[in-house]
Symmetry: C2
Subunit: 339 residues, 2 copies
C-alpha cells in the first residue's frame, strides 16, 4: 500500500479508502489508485486487515473429527463441495476446525477464536456433544446441516418427504412386508425418517412388525450385512429392506446374493443418498437422491448473510431460518414389482 500511495502521490489512508470504496474519495482518484494498485500487483494483507477489523474472510468447517472418515463420506463431501463453491464465489475461504492443534487440546470454540474465523458450518458430527453445543450457542455465526438447534439457522435435507416417497413407491409396487434398517437413533435424520416411516405406513394401512425395524449405523457395512442376514432368515421375511444409506444398501445386496437369494427377485432393496455409487452398481440402486450441492450452497448463503449482518452490527440480524431441501426418488432396479 505504501508503494501504491507513493506512486500515486497520495497518502496510505487514501489508498485504503480507495480500495474499500469509501465515499470521501473522488471517483477520479479512486480509479487512478485502483489502476496502479492492479498494475503493481497489490493484494491486501489479510493478517493486517484481520487485526484491525476482526474479519478474516475465512469460514470454519466442523465435522466428525474422531473417526477421520468424514471427508470420505460421499454425501458429506458432496455437500461440502457445494458449500465451498458458493463461499469462494463470495470471497470466503474455508478451513477445517478441530480440537487438536499442535498436540494440545482446545475446544472448537477456542479454535475458531484462535483462527479468527468469521463463521462456522457444522455438519456430520455428534450434535449433542457439549463442545459442539457450546460453539453453536457462542457469538460466532453458525449454520448447522442436517440438525436443528433452537437459535441457529439450519439446512436439512427433506428426510420426511424422502422416506414418505420411498414408502409410497414401495406400496405402489405392491410391497406390503417392508423392513427398515435405520441409522443411529440419536440423530435427527434418523428420527425424522422414522417418524415419516411410521406415519406413512399408518396412512397406507401397512402393518410393520416390530422385528422388521432395527438400528444399523450409517455406512457401517458390516453391521448392515449382519442385520440383513437376520432379516432374510426370518420365517416370515420381508419382501423389501430399506437401508440408511447407499453404502449399507449395497452391502445388503451383497449379503443377500451371498445367501443365494436374488435382488430384486427375492428381496427388494432401497438405499438413501443417491451418489455416484448408487448408479454404478449392478443392478442400479433404488434410492433417494439428495440435493447435496443445493444443501451446501444454501448453507453458505445463509451463513454469509449472518456474518455480514453481524459485521455491520446492524440492528436487525437475519432471522433464524429452517431450510429444507428436497430430494428425489431414483427408481433404479432394486425394487421388484409384485404381482
Amino acid at each position: 500500500m505504501k508503494d501504491v500511495a507513493e506512486s500515486c502521490g497520495v497518502s496510505i489512508a487514501t489508498v485504503s479508502k480507495a480500495m474499500n470504496d469509501h465515499s470521501d474519495i473522488s471517483e477520479e482518484t479512486k480509479q487512478r489508485i485502483r489502476r496502479t494498485a492492479e498494475k503493481m500487483g497489490y493484494f491486501p494483507n489479510l493478517a493486517a486487515r484481520a487485526l484491525k477489523t476482526n474479519r478474516t474472510y475465512n469460514i470454519g468447517v466442523l465435522y466428525e473429527d474422531e473417526a477421520h472418515s468424514g471427508l470420505t463420506h460421499e454425501y458429506f463431501a458432496s455437500v461440502l463441495e457445494g458449500f465451498k463453491a458458493e463461499s469462494e464465489s463470495r470471497g470466503y475461504d474455508i478451513t477445517f476446525i478441530n480440537r487438536t492443534v499442535s498436540n494440545k487440546t482446545m475446544s472448537y470454540y477456542e479454535h475458531c477464536k484462535y483462527r479468527g474465523l468469521d463463521g462456522v458450518v457444522v455438519a456430520c458430527i455428534d450434535f449433542y456433544e457439549p463442545d459442539v453445543v457450546a460453539l453453536v450457542n457462542s457469538s460466532i455465526p453458525t449454520v448447522t446441516i442436517d440438525h436443528v438447534f433452537k437459535n441457529c439457522t439450519s439446512v436439512v435435507s427433506d428426510n420426511y418427504t424422502g422416506m414418505e416417497d420411498i414408502l409410497r413407491y414401495l406400496y405402489n409396487m405392491g410391497h406390503r412386508k417392508i423392513a427398515y434398517l435405520h441409522g443411529e437413533s440419536d440423530t435427527e435424520v434418523t428420527k425424522t425418517r422414522l417418524t415419516a416411516f411410521y406415519e406413512t405406513a399408518a396412512s397406507l394401512g401397512l402393518e410393520i412388525p416390530p422385528e422388521y425395524v432395527m438400528e444399523c449405523d450409517y455406512c457401517h457395512v458390516q453391521m448392515a450385512a449382519i442385520r440383513t442376514s437376520r432379516l432374510i432368515k426370518m420365517t416370515d421375511r420381508p419382501s423389501c429392506i430399506i437401508y440408511p444409506d447407499d453404502m449399507t444398501a449395497i452391502s445388503g445386496v451383497s449379503e443377500i446374493k451371498r445367501s443365494g437369494l436374488s435382488v430384486p427377485g427375492d428381496i427388494s432393496v432401497v438405499g438413501y443418498d443417491g451418489g455416484l455409487l448408487s448408479e454404478l452398481v449392478n443392478p442400479p440402486l433404488t434410492t433417494i437422491k439428495q440435493n447435496t450441492s443445493q444443501i451446501g450452497k444454501l448453507a453458505a448463503i445463509r451463513l454469509i448473510e449472518t456474518i455480514e449482518s453481524y459485521a455491520q452490527n446492524s440492528q436487525e440480524t437475519p432471522p433464524v431460518r429452517r431450510e429444507v431441501v428436497e430430494g428425489e426418488l431414483i427408481p433404479g432396479k432394486t425394487v421388484r414389482k409384485m404381482n
Copy 2:
C-alpha cells in the same frame, strides 16, 4: 497478553517470550506466566502474529477446481484426510486454494500470498497448467502428490510396482490375454503404470495386442462402459481387463454383466485404489489398495519440514525428496483362475 502481563507483574514482552520459550526468561517466570495465561484462557491472536512473523500456521490445499468433483473422489479425499490429521497434530490448519475469490480471478500463487499460507500441497489437478507450474516454482514451500516436479518434493503412490504386481498376479492366475484401459495419458500416474505394464509384460513374455490398450479417463464411468463393450465384442476378446480405478472397474463389471457375460467366469476384472467401494461390491474387486493415509501423512511431514526450515532461514533447506509409498494387492474375487 496485556492482561496476563499485568496479572503477573511483568511486561508484555516478557509474556511473549515466555510463551515462545525464549532462553532469556527464567524457568520460574515462564512457569508462572504460562499458568496464569492458561488460567485466563489466553490464546494468541494469529492475525497479529502473522503480521509480525509472516507465519500463519495455515497450509493450502490445491486440487481440481473446475470440475468440483475433487472432494468426492474417494482416493483424494482419503489422502487429504491423512494429510489433515498429520498437519493438525503439528499445529497447522488447512485451507483450500482456488482461483475465484469473490468473483475475481487471481492466480493460485496470488491466493496463497493473499492468505499468507505457509505452504501448499498440490494434488489431483492438471500439473501442466501454467498457473500450477508457477506456484510450484514460486518461493512458497510446496509438495506435490502423484506428480514429480524437478525442484519440488513429491509423494507418489508406487504405481510401477502396483501395476507390476497386477500383471504378475494375472500371469500366475493363468491369464495371457490382458487388456488395459488406462487413465488420461498426460498424467504421470498413467505414464508410470503404462511403463510398468509394458515392461512387465515383456519380461513375462506376454504379447499385448495394441487394440487391447485404450485410454479411459479416471472415474469416467460412461467411458468405461463404452470401452468395455468394445473390448468384449472383439472376436479375440481378452480374458481380463485392467481398469484405471475402482469406479471404472465397477462400471466395467456392470457392463459385462449387462452383455450377458459373467465376472469372473467369462471376463476377469482388476481395479485400482482399494477404497471401501471395492470391498463392498459383489463380487469384491481385485484391486491395488493404495496407502492413502500414509501418502497424506508423508506429504504433510515433508511440507512442514520445508516450511519450518525456511522459517529459521537456516542455510540448509531440506533436500528435494521423492517419496514413494507402496500399495498392496487385494485379491478380491473378480479374477478367475484359468485352467
